[in-house]
């Protein structure tokens, strides 16, 4: 379980977020550009610091402004996938997946799971956008992370590839028992993937909807967000 309650002063507004995410749950952050979704993900990764609040994972404090605790990214054991440029350009697909994982069996298993064995020796610029993002997911999961952070991982892809990867992410979510936090602008993606939606907006004090089990509830949440923000 990840528990987050943070505030950060941004230019012209205060980014404020309070939510929790259980293991195996996929929380989607939605909201317009510039609302602070990426900043929130970066705060969770430890790449930026909040101004106040706390972040706890399984009872362990990652960040606590009152106690002056701020764990560096490497102590948080994360998987992180950006929109693009997540991969190291000088390494092959296999080199990227095995960047922090020396066990060749594990690397080969990931290459198989993400269907990228056939391009294992290719460099990132030699493969398609979808293959790059598959590789990025394999790299992010190689060290068995405790939390998976996804910052618009599909937004640079064409719609067919995006749909396929969204389907694969949904299957992956069912297999992984870690919290997954996912930033997206795409409402269809929200509808398809979200167990829980956290809306980040400058105008509203973070309205939240939570209902992992029933699709209808997510649908009604979406209607609400469409009415207030889009």
């Amino acid at each position: 379980m990840l528990e987050v309650a943070i505030k950060k002063q941004m230019p012209g507004f205060t980014l404020s977020a309070e939510f929790s995410c259980r293991n195996g749950q996929l929380v989607v952050f939605t909201g317009p550009s510039g609302a602070g979704k990426t900043t929130l993900i970066r705060i969770l990764a430890g790449l930026e610091s909040a101004d106040q609040g706390s972040i706890c994972y399984q009872g362990r404090t990652w960040y606590d402004s009152a106690r002056g605790i701020h764990l560096p990214p490497k102590s948080r054991e994360l998987g992180y996938v950006f929109q693009e440029h997540t991969l190291f350009p000088h390494l092959s697909v296999k080199g990227n997946v095995g960047f922090m994982q020396k066990n060749p069996n594990k690397v080969n298993a990931l290459l198989r799971v993400f269907k990228i064995q056939h391009i294992a020796d290719h460099k990132p610029h030699q493969i398609s956008g979808g293959e790059r993002q598959r590789t990025a997911f394999a790299q992010a999961l190689a060290k068995d992370p405790k939390l998976l952070l996804l910052d618009e991982p599909f937004s640079a892809l064409d719609s067919a590839t995006r749909n396929r990867l969204q389907y694969e992410l949904k299957k992956l979510r069912d297999k992984l028992s870690i919290p997954i936090l996912h930033v997206t602008h795409d409402l269809t993606e929200v509808e398809y993937l979200a167990d829980k939606i956290v809306h980040i907006d400058r105008k509203f004090p973070v309205p939240r909807y939570e209902q992992p089990k029933t699709e209808n509830k997510v649908q009604s949440a979406l209607k609400y967000f469409k009415s207030v923000a889009y």
């Binding site: 990764a45 430890g46 790449l47 560096p72 990214p73 490497k74 054991e77 994360l78 992180y80 950006f82 693009e84 440029h85 997540t86 991969l87 190291f88 350009p89 000088h90 960047f99 922090m100 460099k123 990132p124 610029h125 956008g129 790059r132 060290k143």
Partner: protein, 222 residues
């Protein structure tokens, strides 16, 4: 033709190139990735040898290296010998003069790196030193090679600053550029022409390599 000055120039250039890479790489890393107040002042100071006449630099180096100068005193304390008019003195002076030629290409290649790649290294758990050797260096090796070659070529071609701090002691401080000057003064034009030709050939070969590396320096992210 006496090849000793050419060999001495090559030795000086080699020693300086190695030392410059060791000094300029961390300095460039710091300047490329850290923002701090007064950064432009430091950058301007490092670039000063590009615009100040070598004789001016040489003059101040000579004062610093003299038996009463701090550098000269420190050297005497450490080694017992004087620094001015020695090979070690030439190395100090050349380092100062060539540092922008080493620093700028390295800094430029670091700045071309996508900052997110560096963030990725910290997310994946690498220390800054591991990140440097595993990610930064492999992606900026062309910039570092260009810096090494420019430093070598520039040190090979130095004249004014070397004349000021080294004089012309055969086998010790009489490098190729000084030897050419002396050949001309003594009207030995054939020797001056031959040595000049060697210098031009070496410099041209180095510049061709640098331009080739620069053309390949783009990092192919995707």
């Amino acid at each position: 033709m006496d090849y000793t000055p050419l060999l001495l120039s090559a030795k000086l250039a080699l020693v300086c190139t190695v030392l410059l890479l060791l000094i300029a790489t961390p300095a460039a890393y710091f300047l490329a990735f850290k923002n701090f107040k007064g950064k432009f002042l430091i950058e301007s100071l490092i670039g000063l040898p590009l615009v100040v006449p070598p004789t001016v630099l040489g003059f101040y180096m000579l004062i610093l290296m003299g038996p009463k100068g701090p550098l000269g005193k420190g050297w005497i304390y450490l080694t017992g010998g004087s620094l001015a008019f020695t090979f070690a003195g030439l190395v100090f002076a050349s380092l100062l003069h060539a540092i922008p030629f080493a620093l700028q290409p390295i800094k430029a290649s670091f700045e071309k790196l996508d900052g997110r790649l560096l963030e990725m290294t910290s997310v994946l758990g690498l220390s800054p030193l591991q990140a440097f050797f595993r990610v930064v260096l492999p992606n900026t090796i062309n910039g570092l090679s260009a810096a090494a070659m420019l430093s070598f070529a520039h040190t090979m071609g130095e004249f004014g600053i070397i004349l000021m701090v080294g004089g012309s002691i055969p086998g010790k401080t009489k490098v190729a550029s000084i030897a050419i000057y002396e050949y001309v003064e003594n009207l030995q034009y054939d020797k001056a022409a031959l040595m000049s030709l060697v210098m031009i050939a070496v410099s041209y070969a180095i510049l061709i390599s640098v331009n080739y590396l620069n053309s390949r320096q783009e990092i192919n992210y995707a």
